[in-house]
């Protein structure tokens, strides 16, 4: 089977999770072509060979510098058709959630979103995906000739890279004004900290932090770990933290290597967003808090005391 991977870039940087998708495709299918839309990335295209892409199709110009769901769908589908790919992969990012459904309709292809496992069994592709906020998993098979999967970021880890260079082909898209019926006019990136979805370590705070003023304790721990900061819905609803930090059923789904929950009770809707984290640490003064049921390691104690000590101890270990 021939696979094609939609590679996402923001501000000239290729997303790590797109590289995960390339690596996942290269290890499972006969060939893997990466398609990169947007501003010219120069030498970076060939570098995608490191993850297993044999070919990169770079599409620049003609208004593609800024994301437009309608134009991107058309330009990408034109390439998929032409290459005759049977499998299309995306990383399940905000862009893919917007774009993949339109691509699926255009290609008359079935779409399985946010998959956490993908395997080829007797010539068919079987995907595993969480449903009911991770309370159950389904395995699905897609009945259409072209099959599309979006992969949950941070789940398909990159086992190894090589120094292979991919063959790069440049294309001009065939787009008219009518293809840009939706147009991004501005992206506002918050400077500094990583996003919860993309970070390898997340330090999250809940109502047990007591007050927004105490968030410096979360921030300091996040600094030594180069982590993103997350929050429970209780503190987002209280206006202590921005919505973009909310983890859970009505927030973001994260699967970092390390998730540290500070003063978070572990309500089922919170667990929905973080239970696939590889290692979970909970700090809570209530030994009965449900978060301890899913934590790998727990400390029963007051966050106000434990957090500063933890930050110091980790600083000593990582040497920051």
């Amino acid at each position: 089977m021939k696979a094609i991977v939609f590679v996402e870039q923001r501000d000239g940087n290729i997303k790590k999770s797109s590289c995960e998708a390339i690596h996942a495709a290269a290890g499972r299918f006969d060939s893997c072509t990466a398609v990169v839309l947007g501003p010219d990335l120069g030498d970076a295209y060939a570098g995608l060979g490191a993850y297993g892409a044999s070919k990169v199709i770079a599409v620049n110009g003609d208004g593609l510098e800024k994301y437009s769901v309608t134009a991107y769908a058309k330009a990408f589908c034109d390439i998929v058709r032409e290459t005759g790919a049977d499998v299309v992969l995306f990383s399940a990012t905000a862009m893919a959630k917007d774009l993949a459904p339109r691509v699926a309709v255009r290609l008359e292809a079935a779409l399985a979103s946010d998959c956490t496992a993908l395997s080829v069994e007797e010539g068919d592709v079987i995907a595993t995906r969480p449903v009911y906020a991770g309370k159950a998993f389904i395995r699905v098979s897609l009945s259409t000739p072209v099959k599309i999967f979006t992969l949950r970021p941070n789940v398909f880890t990159i086992a190894e890279t090589s120094d292979a260079q991919a063959e790069v082909e440049r294309r001009a898209p065939d787009l008219g004004e009518e293809d840009f019926s939706v147009q991004v006019v501005e992206t506002k990136m918050s400077s500094g900290r990583k996003d919860v979805v993309e970070a390898d370590v997340v330090v999250s705070g809940g109502r047990g932090m007591g007050a927004p003023e105490n968030w410096n304790l979360i921030e300091e721990l996040a600094d030594v770990l180069d982590a993103a900061t997350g929050a429970s819905r209780a503190v987002v609803d209280a206006g202590w933290r921005p919505h973009a930090e909310q983890v859970g059923q009505t927030g973001k789904t994260v699967s970092p290597s390390l998730y540290i929950a500070c003063g978070i009770s572990g309500a089922i809707q919170h667990l929905a967003g973080m239970s696939s984290s590889k290692c979970i640490v909970a700090i809570n003064k209530d030994p009965e808090a449900p978060i301890f049921n899913i934590a790998d390691y727990g400390i029963i104690g007051d966050v106000m005391e434990v957090l500063p000590a933890l930050t110091n101890e980790i600083r000593a270990v990582v040497g920051k």
């Binding site: 905000a94 006019v185 005391e305």
Partner: protein
């Protein structure tokens, strides 16, 4: 304005999930169903648009008779009427989008609101698919919406590490995320009025799922974690475990 809002009928977010006898779906015994939480933002957005620009709001749901209860909840919030598109409740997102598109294409919608995702299968697909099928623009997971004088709308959505601002023209399909608004609670008066509001029923054409469920399983059981200790004294041991055992720092 002719405003549509697509709603789904889902198990309450606190429901304990059990796999049913088919091995492919949940056991619905004892499960309470609610209006999909993301669709509450969609209903609120539709109602606010109607309040500002006049018009009519129709709540659309693809499903069996059981979903009428959820349509009534939207009517109780202030939606004017319901449209039940009768079909099995197991349809995949494309099947749902196709049924909705077929039913409302000729009703000249000015805007179609959806939720970002339905918290049963968490697909995040219907809005974009509906847009593509109807040949309308679509923007998913919006947290900001402003109508401009010239018939265009400015939308804000959260992306990894920031926000994205885009513009499009109506008619369009917009899916809503938490943060867009504060959904209103139905008042007693609204609940009474909802009983008298009309729900039109039509049959969806037959459809065979493109996404075929082979089986449903519970997540692998996780070993009970380790309580490292109490208070500050436990910190050195925790850091040692994270460094040497879990190897995450």
């Amino acid at each position: 304005m002719n405003i549509f809002v697509c709603i789904s009928h889902v198990p309450d977010s606190t429901t304990k999930i059990k796999v049913g006898p088919s091995g492919k779906e949940i056991d619905e015994e004892g499960v309470t169903f609610i209006l999909n939480p993301y669709d509450e933002y969609a209903v609120e957005a539709a109602l606010q648009m109607k309040e500002k620009h006049e018009g009519e709001v129709t709540a659309v749901c693809v499903g069996d008779d059981a979903v009428k209860e959820t349509i009534r909840k939207a009517l109780a919030m202030g939606v004017d009427k319901g449209l039940l598109i009768k079909a099995e409740r197991t349809r995949d997102s494309f099947g749902i989008a196709q049924a909705i598109a077929g039913a409302i294409r000729d009703k000249s919608p000015d805007v179609i609101f959806c939720g970002k995702q339905s918290i049963d299968y968490d697909s995040c697909q219907v809005a974009g698919m509906l847009g593509e099928i109807l040949g309308m623009p679509s923007v998913s997971a919006i947290v900001g919406l402003e109508m401009n004088g010239d018939g265009s709308v400015t939308l804000e959505r959260d992306i990894e590490g920031g926000q994205e601002i885009s513009t499009t023209k109506l008619p369009a399909v917009l899916s809503t995320d938490k943060g867009l608004n504060e959904p209103r609670y139905p008042k007693l008066q609204g609940i009474m009025a909802a009983k008298r509001k009309p729900i039109e029923e039509i049959e969806a054409p037959p459809y065979e799922n493109r996404v075929r469920v082979l089986d449903m399983r519970m997540p692998p059981a996780k070993d009970a974690g380790k309580i490292v200790g109490e208070g500050v004294e436990a910190v050195p041991e925790l850091v040692k475990l994270l460094h040497e055992e879990a190897k995450v720092i």
